[in-house]
């Protein structure tokens, strides 16, 4: 399992950790029931504060990706398809918002935007 922290990334470190662990779960590299490294170990290895890893694990738990068992550690919770879908939906929405903002600056109309998305979407197939 690899987690890469970038200082150049504008994202806070805890977010870099959560998004990478989520990706590992989504791609199946981390499976249901797999143990995550302890917060202290992760902090030590990445050379970051324990508070940061605590926050990352807390967020993952709240979002239902991870379960913590007192005294035992944190484990990947059962994979919920709708969780993953929702997460992807949220990410897509963020990117679309950015695209729309950019489009609005130059006054690109909605139908042209839709056409562009349709073209890109289908081009992949």
């Amino acid at each position: 399992m690899d987690i890469i922290i970038s200082n150049a990334s504008g994202k806070p470190i805890y977010e870099q950790i959560t998004s990478q662990i989520k990706n590992l779960i989504l791609t199946g590299e981390l499976k249901e029931g797999d143990a995550l490294p302890s917060m202290r170990l992760l902090a030590k290895e990445l050379r970051i504060s324990v508070i940061t890893t605590k926050r990352a694990y807390g967020d993952l738990e709240r979002e239902g990706f991870v379960e913590s068992v007192t005294g035992k550690g944190s484990f990947v919770s059962c994979k919920k398809e709708d969780f993953i879908r929702e997460e992807h939906l949220r990410i897509t929405e963020t990117y679309l918002q950015k695209a729309i903002d950019t489009a609005k600056v130059s006054g690109i109309p909605l139908d042209e935007l839709i056409e562009m998305i349709t073209l890109l979407y289908k081009g992949d197939e």
Partner: protein, 282 residues
């Protein structure tokens, strides 16, 4: 979370310098960086914590005990590293082992020797012939060989080369793997600290400016970059400190306070310190 160190309303007056109403606490299992310019009161605070000088007023509790009443008991569980050489010039690490065995109840020879080996320190060489980095590593080996729960370092890592600092950082991170352990490290070099510290306490002219989780500082503060004209339009109350130039303004702000479309860069702990002081002097 339980606190391993708690300081309440601590004051100490000297001629020309005074420590005023210092308050902060260090939770178990955490690393606190104690930062401030030279002469801000870092060493005075540490000496007060170690009961080396008498406080005028306030409370200091370490491991839940008053530090002056339980001086001996507390010191058994503290590892201390001061700047510079802490041992007599003509002693070898082997001699130091003998001396320390008589000082600390929980001294462990094997642990000390394993640190010496880890740090590549010679057993038979006298301390006088040690380099600065070797001296520092020796002090840290001593501080960690009697099962201390709290490690206090006063300017210990400044002036060391990056390779030695890195080695030491690893040792600290190992130490903190035990949730009962804490580290209190005073410094004015922030680079390493910024990465591993959980809390930052900033002292300036004998007063604590802030004592907060590092993450809160990094996420809450930002450096606003804007034109002089834009700067004039911003409510000055939310500006903590600023630096003006002919071509624009840089200012420290709390991100939440500034509404609108502005360029805000991430602030480093060093930025936050500098702008706080700048803001005060204006």
């Amino acid at each position: 979370m339980e606190n391993i160190v708690e300081i309440r309303n601590l004051s100490k007056k000297y001629d020309g310098f005074s420590l005023e109403d210092v308050n902060f606490s260090l939770p178990k299992g955490c690393i606190m960086g104690f930062v401030g310019e030279n002469g801000a009161g870092k060493s005075t605070t540490i000496k007060l914590m170690l009961n080396l000088i008498r406080r005028d007023s306030g409370e200091i509790s370490i491991f839940g005990l008053d530090n002056s009443k339980h001086d001996h008991q507390i010191k058994e569980d503290i590892g201390i590293v001061f700047d510079g050489s802490n041992f007599h010039d003509n002693m070898t690490p082997t001699d130091i082992n003998k001396v320390m065995k008589n000082i600390y109840k929980n001294w462990e020879d094997a642990k000390f020797y394993s640190y010496l080996e880890k740090f590549n320190l010679p057993l038979k060489k006298i301390v006088k012939e040690f380099s600065r980095g070797m001296n520092m590593k020796l002090s840290i080996a001593v501080a960690l060989s009697h099962h201390a729960k709290l490690l206090i370092l006063d300017e210990a890592t400044s002036g060391l080369d990056p390779i030695v600092r890195d080695e030491i950082l690893d040792v600290f991170l190992d130490f903190i793997q035990d949730e009962e352990h804490s580290i209190f490290i005073s410094t004015h070099i922030l680079s390493d600290l910024e990465k591993i510290a959980d809390y930052i306490t900033f002292i300036h002219k004998g007063k604590i400016v802030f004592s907060e989780p590092k993450d809160n500082l990094l996420y809450n503060y930002g450096i606003l970059k804007c034109s002089n004209a834009d700067f004039e339009k911003i409510n000055k109350k939310i500006i903590i400190g600023s630096r003006k130039s002919q071509f624009g303004v840089e200012a420290l702000v709390k991100r939440g306070n500034l509404k609108g479309d502005y360029t805000i860069d991430n602030a480093s702990i060093e930025d936050i310190m500098l702008f706080q002081i700048r803001g005060e002097s204006k």
